[in-house]
Symmetry: C2
DNA sequence: ATGAAACTACACCGACCTGTGTAATGGCTG
DNA sequence: CAGCCATTACACAGGTCGGTGTAGTTTCAT
């Protein structure tokens, strides 16, 4: 039940924005009464936090399937997955950036949770890159991880306004260039998408 | 008068989000009556569009002061300016990305203007890079311009949630690496900030 | 001084917002 | 069957929203 509520909130918050969606709409779309919704979540804010936590979990481990591939391939694979994500019509940018932008500067003593969640998510992904770069053995894994994470965030941001797979491909190409410049041996471009032909 | 209204709207929309700010608040903060506000702008949506147009003009030509410097220095200078922008406490990310995220998917026959403005802005900045890369004579100015623009957008996005100058420096370092990989001769890191010492 | 234009204060509208209170209904387990 | 818990429908409170109508006041050029 909580799951159905959260899935509905996810969809509506992503599509229309957080403030644009009322609790009545969420309850109606979830097929439950408003009273039931408030029996599961004490306030709309709790629903927002739960929505962000859900995204956190889903997005954090989205690129862990290729865990057996070599680290460089995992990194480039993440950018290929990004290209597919942007092509999805349901793609609505980064929910954490959106939430921070929409909820505005935290007022007195409130809203710190959203920003903390956003920071944690960005750092989590940066570390995802860093771990793999360390396994490769590049000179500055931390700095390069930051650069790769910036490319992802840039691709996500611009992908929201201009849904163009060329943006994701450019991000992947830039990542490839940065890896090569760091001395990493990477497979030639496009080798993953059409392995041998 | 229009200018004062717009400046107020700019500040409030940026700090608190578009939907979070009511017209009463804008009028009060601008020191005018709500009626006067509606005599200058027919609806809140017009105010939002004007706000985005204003940002468009301000941000598009923000990096045109170094127009006499060599193109590569202009490009790297843009990333240094980005570092200062992020450090500004009033920095609130990309207003176009924020607006698109907050206003949600355009309903039937409405809101296309915001998205079009956002696309135009992103493209404008990409072309800004491209013109300079063409003057340098790199092999693929268009592709490299896209990559540099992605770095800027990534830095802006992550700079909103984690106000850290290290992010901007990483973006600048990545830009430098990409330029070098494209065969551009760039000054050593930090040469602009402390010219000769 | 006169008249037009701009501005102000203020009430008001209907719609929507988050959140609660309540009484009735359903299903499930003992 | 009895008791319990979740859920429902529905009304309601208190507030904010975008937007309008109106009557009176300021400003300013002629």
């Amino acid at each position: 039940m909580d799951e159905r509520i959260l899935a509905t909130a996810d969809r509506l918050f992503s599509r229309q924005g957080i403030r644009a969606v009322g609790v009545d709409t969420i309850a109606a779309e979830a097929g439950i009464s408003k009273r039931t919704l408030y029996n599961h979540y004490p306030a709309k804010e709790a629903l927002v936090v739960a929505h962000l936590r859900r995204r956190y979990g889903a997005l954090t481990h989205a690129d862990d399937r290729l865990v057996d591939a070599p680290p460089a391939a995992q990194i480039l694979g993440a950018f290929e997955r990004l290209e597919r994500a942007i092509a999805d019509p349901a793609f609505r940018g980064c929910p954490f950036v959106n939430a921070v932008a929409e909820l505005g500067v935290p007022g007195p003593g409130a809203d710190h949770q959203t920003n903390a969640l956003a920071i944690a998510f960005k750092e989590e992904r940066r570390q995802w890159f860093r771990r793999r770069l360390e396994r490769i053995g590049v000179a500055d894994p931390d700095g390069l991880a930051t650069q790769l994470a910036l490319l992802v965030d840039g691709c996500v941001a611009v992908g929201l306004v201009r849904r163009d797979p060329a943006m994701a491909r450019a991000a992947g190409a830039a990542a490839r260039t940065l890896l090569i410049a760091a001395g990493v041996a990477v497979a030639p471009a496009g080798s993953c998408r059409s392995p041998r032909r």
